[in-house]
Symmetry: C2
Subunit: 285 residues, 2 copies
């Protein structure tokens, strides 16, 4: 079911934007890499979904947990969650170190998605056209329950054996800022989709923190995440031809990765190079 929301597409981006001439040998390598990266991002998403399904089973009382389950799993997935895991692995961490934070990021995203698409009395056009299984009051209250549940999961991943309390608190700060007042404040470029940008930024930073990255690695991956979020946000606004902006952000994003071992950045870099995950989330515009 989860994979239905993931479409790996080349969209309007191509490797040529970075590599002007591609030989037939290199083209073959690119295709092989796409296949490999498909399974990389999809394997991450599959692990996140498995974790969430265990955390939010459908159980009694059904009036609470059926909407919670539905509103958690019906929104499209966000690449911010997958990026959290990829950043953790890039700095040498284990996937298990980041899977709870990645799940929490999905829950924040699901709450935002549900509330963005609520049918409100004064909602200006265009009105949300997604299917609504539950009435607005249920959607409102369930979204309000999903968000703190994300923080509960995060705080509950404290493990005295690994002495990770400081890291988790830092991740809570990153994620709460991303979805709180900072996201509501438009960024200096007056870009839309600020919450998408910030969620990717905080996702990458959180993965780096949990994977044991040093301060420079955390800062660089945080910036990488911001550019990846800007690109994903723009790609989600279909029909706009903003190749110039995407080129600029892609270059800035890849510059941050130069700090890392070139053999290790291949997978994470695909999120900005056009073989990336293309999630179908349409954010606020």
């Amino acid at each position: 079911m989860a994979s239905a929301y993931i479409s790996i597409s080349r969209i309007n981006l191509s490797h040529r934007a970075i590599s002007p001439s591609i030989s037939s040998k290199r083209r073959y390598t690119t295709i092989a890499r796409v296949a490999q990266n498909q399974s990389y991002w999809e394997s991450i998403q599959s692990d996140i979904d498995s974790h969430l399904k265990k955390a939010i089973p459908i159980r009694e009382p059904l009036t609470v947990f059926e909407p919670m389950h539905h509103l958690t799993f019906s929104p499209p997935r966000t690449s911010a969650s997958a990026l959290c895991v990829a950043a953790c692995e890039l700095v040498g961490g284990n996937r298990a170190d980041a899977i709870v934070a990645a799940s929490a990021i999905h829950l924040m995203h699901a709450d935002i998605y549900v509330h963005d698409n609520m049918l409100l009395t004064d909602r200006v056009e265009p009105r949300p056209t997604i299917p609504h299984k539950f009435d607005p009051q249920i959607e409102l209250m369930t979204g309000d329950g999903i968000m703190p549940f994300g923080f509960e999961l995060l705080a509950g991943s404290m493990d005295p054996a690994s002495n990770n309390a400081d890291k988790i608190l830092r991740v809570i700060i990153e994620i709460s800022r991303a979805i709180g007042s900072e996201a509501m404040v438009s960024d200096q470029d007056h870009e839309a989709n600020t919450q998408i940008h910030r969620l990717h930024e905080s996702g990458a930073a959180s993965g780096a923190i949990l994977g044991g990255g040093n301060e420079e690695e955390i800062e660089r991956l945080k910036k990488f995440g911001l550019y990846a979020g800007k690109i994903q946000g723009l790609l989600n606004k279909m029909g706009k031809n903003e190749e110039g902006k995407i080129e600029k952000w892609r270059a800035l994003a890849l510059k941050e990765l130069e700090h890392f071992d070139s053999k290790k950045i291949e997978q994470i870099s695909t999120i900005v190079t056009g073989d990336s995950l293309k999630f179908s989330y349409v954010g606020k515009s």
Copy 2:
């Protein structure tokens, strides 16, 4: 402005429920104690408000921070915040140790209040009659920003010098559970106002944790908070004559306090003995 929302009233409760005969000397003592307790709870509330005003100033961009400030300070105060500070002080902690958690609890309560009173397309009667300065979309998004800001404040109160990360994570678990899925699940008695109950329960537990209480103290104050929340929840549903329930919960609450030094419980006990803070919050029914 804050004190406008606090009415110290005897409501339908009296000391006689606990102390059947009150001599004139004891009546004098009671009056003196009321005055003293007024200033105790009001001084706590004043400190919480001061902290919040520093944390959420009205600043640019006004389109974000004016609604955030307004929707933080216009809801009536919840005694759950004050109880957090009182519990901290009861176990020997300093007020400063609990003021951030108490502020965070107010922010959670403010979000719940704003969303409870939103004008939704399908809202059944009675429709909320509170004044609405902003349209529903602003109220929805601002509430969604206020809640994570509460978690950001909490996580940001980590202080390496006092090595309090574990305590803060435990408080985040308490508070996120109180407002998340657990609050949505009706309790066994099928009482309404579950979020009010849980917010008081988590407030008292959080104060005890941050004040350095031992496990027994934390558990007892958590139970005390739950009963205090049930009483406050019932008092907010004006017009119902449920003295019997209140009597039962008051007795159970006071029983938890027997564990503590009798000289120290005078102030906190007033939250259930009728000289308590009576907040004007009307919760979901």
